[in-house]
């Protein structure tokens, strides 16, 4: 097979194969999440859906790995040389690490759908930067690059997973706070027990929240015998779900997501060849993110307890922070070897430094009593905006030694 055919094959493996598999797996997993509450027959369907989602996710990761290998063969080098390749690998690392962590370490497979959705979004963003396979500049042709770039790309992928957890945490927490506020108003203005949601239905709240059911009882939904009160419980549960969802105002969420994404996506507005093409890309990115946020809002009632997502965000950020630190130091060492100086405040170096500071801020906020919870999660979201912003700006807007976007 010639390198042209290989290039074509690698492109097909990326789009539509991998992207569609990730999206499909994500949808199936998210459907499975909705069946964790309800009757026995539904749970059986949920189990089947989870199995199907697992198969699709494994197929998707396989196709993604195959894409990387075929692309590597087509250009006879590791696919880590330009923005498209880096973004694609970032998605691969994020999805595989996220899924393995959730499935085997944390045993929370119900969240897989969100990680896959995040992976699909990053893959889609990668298509905006697609570049045909080609050779590498000689200065990039060294094992230093492999070491430095893979650590940073791995860090980016895991940071992306952490962002998903932070965003979900904020959504669920907002919903719960709203429900609690409503209850305290209904209960005569007393704030005592305001956060107690069990008065709608104890059993229902337990089923919706595996965490509150106690960690020893295993996965949710083991005891699914229909009892006479179930019908009434179900109605109350659905009411609780609606209340949770209502707690997250959709217009505010959509507007906030649009504006938040704009903090990063303006880069496409200013750097595209024509105004209309730039506007198209800008709107595509923003509206996709808004759609993802609204989908996530619909799933708010099925999310696990806030503490679980808070913990997940912290662990993933800590791991990514280690990768980022080592990767940045490796980059400084490479710069010393290659350019004869270890740190020169090049745009990308500044970006790496900013990202490092932002995530250091998040970890410190987590360690400080006063800023825990929502405050820390917001810092985590802001840190991800810094990460994506500096990544795009340093590649597209300010040209420095690190700008390999067009190569």
């Amino acid at each position: 097979m010639g390198s042209d055919q290989l290039a074509e094959l690698s492109r097909l493996l990326y789009f539509p194969t991998t992207l569609m598999l990730y999206l499909g797996a994500s949808i199936v997993y998210l459907y499975a999440l909705t069946t964790t509450v309800g009757r026995t027959d539904q749970r059986e369907r949920g189990r089947l859906a989870r199995r199907l989602g697992g198969i699709l996710a494994v197929l998707g990761i396989t196709a993604h790995v195959a894409h990387e290998i075929v692309r590597g063969l087509a250009q006879d080098r590791l696919p880590l040389g330009n923005m498209f390749e880096v973004t694609s690998l970032m998605a691969l690392v994020g999805v595989s690490v996220g899924l393995i962590h959730l499935q085997f370490v944390r045993r929370r497979p119900e969240l897989n759908g969100f990680v896959l959705l995040g992976g699909a979004l990053v893959l889609g963003m990668g298509m905006l930067m697609y570049a045909e396979p080609g050779p590498l500049m000689p200065i990039l042709d060294t094992w230093w690059r492999t070491f430095h770039v893979s650590l940073l790309v791995g860090g980016m992928g895991v940071f992306a997973a952490a962002f998903v957890f932070n965003a979900l945490y904020l959504l669920r927490d907002t919903g719960e706070l709203a429900v609690a506020a409503e209850r305290s108003r209904a209960g005569g203005g007393s704030t005592v027990g305001a956060a107690y949601v069990g008065d709608v239905s104890d059993g229902a709240a337990t089923a919706a929240d595996p965490e509150t059911a106690g960690t020893s009882s295993g996965p949710a939904g083991e005891d699914d015998e229909l009892d006479p009160d179930e019908e009434r419980d179900r109605a109350e549960l659905l009411a609780y779900h609606r209340a949770l969802r209502r707690g997250v105002p959709p217009v505010k969420l959509a507007l906030g997501t649009f504006l938040g994404t704009s903090l990063v996506s303006w880069v496409w507005l200013t750097t595209a060849d024509t105004w209309s093409a730039g506007l198209g890309r800008f709107l595509a990115v923003n509206l996709t993110m808004v759609a993802a946020a609204l989908v996530a809002r619909w799933f708010v009632p099925f999310l696990p307890a806030t503490a679980t997502m808070d913990g997940l965000a912290h662990r993933t950020t800590a791991f990514a922070f280690v990768l980022w630190t080592i990767g940045t130091i490796a980059g400084a060492m490479w710069a010393e070897v290659s350019w004869g100086r270890f740190w020169g405040w090049d745009p990308k170096e500044t970006g790496a430094f900013l990202t490092w500071i932002a995530y250091a801020g998040y970890l410190h906020a987590r360690a400080t009593r006063g800023v825990k919870g929502r405050g820390a999660a917001w810092i985590g979201v802001a840190a991800f905006i810094v990460l994506m912003g500096t990544y795009l700006i340093a590649n597209y807007v300010i040209v420095g030694l690190h700008s390999y976007a067009d190569l």
Binding site: G134, P138, R315, T325, A332, V337, H364
Partner: protein
């Protein structure tokens, strides 16, 4: 003695306060204390980190004088950027040199003071912890995270000995406790791990910033960096203070610290993907210099400098920085040669190389603004068509000739810049390789084309310290994030029913990452059972377990 039934004002203070200073001294002292306490807060540290981040954003958005002085100059003159007025404001706040500005240094200083203020009490507490603390002996094994019971035929003392040995081998801190009359707490081995490592790791991480700062300051003093362009086949240059084009030594770097070697460029290899349709068209594929080095007192030797393989000469590093074509330009005025050297024009954004000829030997001075196109083949009408391609298959030298005063020494100018203030244009000319041209009595010829390479020579004695600081940083980070604090108790009870049987309760508590502790705990229990020939306990024990009491009460 304090009497609690009396009103507070009738009781004497428990401890007399130190006589507080008064007047202006008190004001200053109180302010310093307040500032120190403010700096010691975590929130302040976060604000300062944010300020540092904002400053580095400013430094990215505004051109920095140490990096791109020419861009800064054009911003100041209003030729580019937001205009002269804004530029004055930027200058006033030091935005053109953020990393050397007073604001940046102040933030950095505040951050280090804040770090110190945070660390001093933490280090004290940590030392106290390491010196005094020992695992707590438990009275009742209440609700711990993990708990398992097994039985064995070994005696309680034997079981405790094996448990202590097993745990010390796994680097737990172990404390044995044997019950006696005054102490109702049961026989047990109490153990703890990760107590020092987590906080210690965090301390090492934060202390590594002092190492890094010291290394950077040391670097500012001892470092040396110089750039110099060398033409292929030229005699090259010697490592002395005067031979560099740009030269920035640290404050403590003296002229005697130069090593005095000579560097010649024998050949420079560069090539590109020339097929315009191939992927990565125009990208360079080779970028390598063959050089000859003559040490001050030694035999000359050949060496290769590649993109990622700099040359190391006793701690001095030589890297390739940039390159260009070196056309030899000969200028004759009235039959007399006034200029015969290789130019070193630099690549511009337009895809051509730009340089200058300065010949003060002529009267009046001859100056030439030189544009070099590497690949400018003849078009259909016979006129050269400049392309941006960098390979020299059809080189073309275009120049504008000037006569007048070059103002050498009067103004700051680089070798590739011409000061045209006192010069008058004599017209334009274009030359192919080997051609010559006469213009207004001046004969210009272009007999030879070579290449030149800009080398960077740097000496950084601080690198090992920086590396050590980085290693400390990573090790500390790993410790602070991944060392987990755990406690474990192995409580033994003689079972009354069957005399030689011992009932062993193992309980553990995870302060961090409880999900990872599950497996560690199971491992430990399995190993302890294997060491003592234990068997899982009867699920419905006849004797009362030490867990029967509800409260988790631990005492030291």
């Amino acid at each position: 003695m304090t009497e609690s039934s009396l009103p507070p004002q009738q009781n004497p203070p428990v401890r007399r306060r130190r006589a507080a200073p008064s007047g202006p001294v008190a004001f200053v002292w109180e302010s310093v204390l307040m500032g120190w306490r403010w700096l010691a807060r975590m929130r302040t540290a976060l604000y300062l980190l944010a300020a540092l981040a904002i400053l580095s954003i400013v430094a990215t958005a505004v051109p920095q004088e140490p990096n791109v002085p020419s861009t800064v100059a054009s911003w100041r003159e209003g030729e580019a950027g937001p205009g002269v007025g804004v530029s004055r404001v930027l200058d006033a706040v030091g935005a053109y040199d953020v990393y050397g500005s007073a604001i940046f240094l102040a933030v950095l200083l505040a951050l280090y003071i804040s770090l110190t203020a945070c660390l001093i009490p933490r280090i004290k507490a940590w030392i106290r912890l390491v010196r005094r603390s020992q695992p707590p002996v438990v009275r009742h094994l209440g609700a711990q995270d993990e708990r398992t019971v097994f039985v064995t035929d070994r005696s309680p003392a034997e079981v405790r000995a094996s448990a202590a040995e097993l745990l010390s081998r796994r680097r737990w801190r172990v404390r044995r406790h044997d019950a006696h009359a005054d102490d109702p707490r049961p026989d047990q081995v109490a153990a703890e791990t990760g107590l020092w490592a987590r906080e210690g790791g965090s301390l090492v991480f934060h202390l590594s910033f002092y190492v890094l700062l010291a290394a950077i300051v040391l670097g500012q003093l001892l470092t040396f960096e110089g750039q110099r362009g060398v033409v292929e086949g030229d005699p090259g240059f010697r490592d002395t203070a005067v031979s560099y084009w740009s030269y920035s030594p640290g404050r403590w770097f003296g002229e005697g610290d130069h090593q005095g070697w000579r560097l010649e460029l024998e050949r420079f290899h560069v090539d590109w993907v020339r097929d315009p349709l191939a992927p990565g068209a125009g990208q360079p594929t080779v970028f390598r210099s063959d050089v000859r080095v003559t040490p001050q007192d030694g035999e000359p030797f050949d060496a290769v400098i590649d993109s990622n393989r700099p040359l190391n000469l006793d701690g001095t590093r030589i890297t390739q920085l940039d390159w260009g074509y070196a056309p030899r330009v000969v200028v004759e005025v009235d039959g007399e040669v006034v200029h015969d050297t290789f130019l070193t024009p630099v690549l511009t954004d337009g895809g051509f190389f730009r340089g200058a000829v300065k010949a003060p030997a002529a009267d009046p001075d001859v100056g030439m603004d030189v544009f070099f196109y590497a690949f400018a083949p003849d078009g259909e009408d016979g006129r050269p068509v400049p392309t941006g391609a960098p390979w020299a298959d059809a080189p073309l030298l275009v120049f504008q000739l000037f006569r007048g005063d070059l103002r050498l020494g009067a103004t700051q100018q680089t070798i590739n810049e011409l000061d045209v203030e006192e010069l008058t244009s004599q017209g334009f000319g274009a030359l192919r390789l080997g051609q010559s041209l006469e213009l207004e009595g001046v004969t210009v010829s272009f007999p030879e084309l070579r290449r030149w390479v800009g080398f960077q020579v740097s000496s950084r004695p601080q690198l090992p310290y920086l590396l050590a600081g980085s290693v400390l940083l990573i090790v500390g980070l790993l410790g602070s994030l991944y060392a987990s604090r755990r406690r474990l108790w192995v409580v033994t009870m003689e079972e009354a029913a069957a005399a030689p049987r011992t009932l062993v309760t193992v309980a553990g508590r995870a302060f961090q990452r409880p999900e990872a502790f599950e497996e560690e705990f199971a491992d430990l229990v399995a190993e302890l059972m294997a060491a003592t020939d234990g068997a899982p306990a009867d699920p419905h024990p006849t004797t009362e377990l030490p867990t029967a009491l509800p409260a988790a009460e631990t005492t030291r």
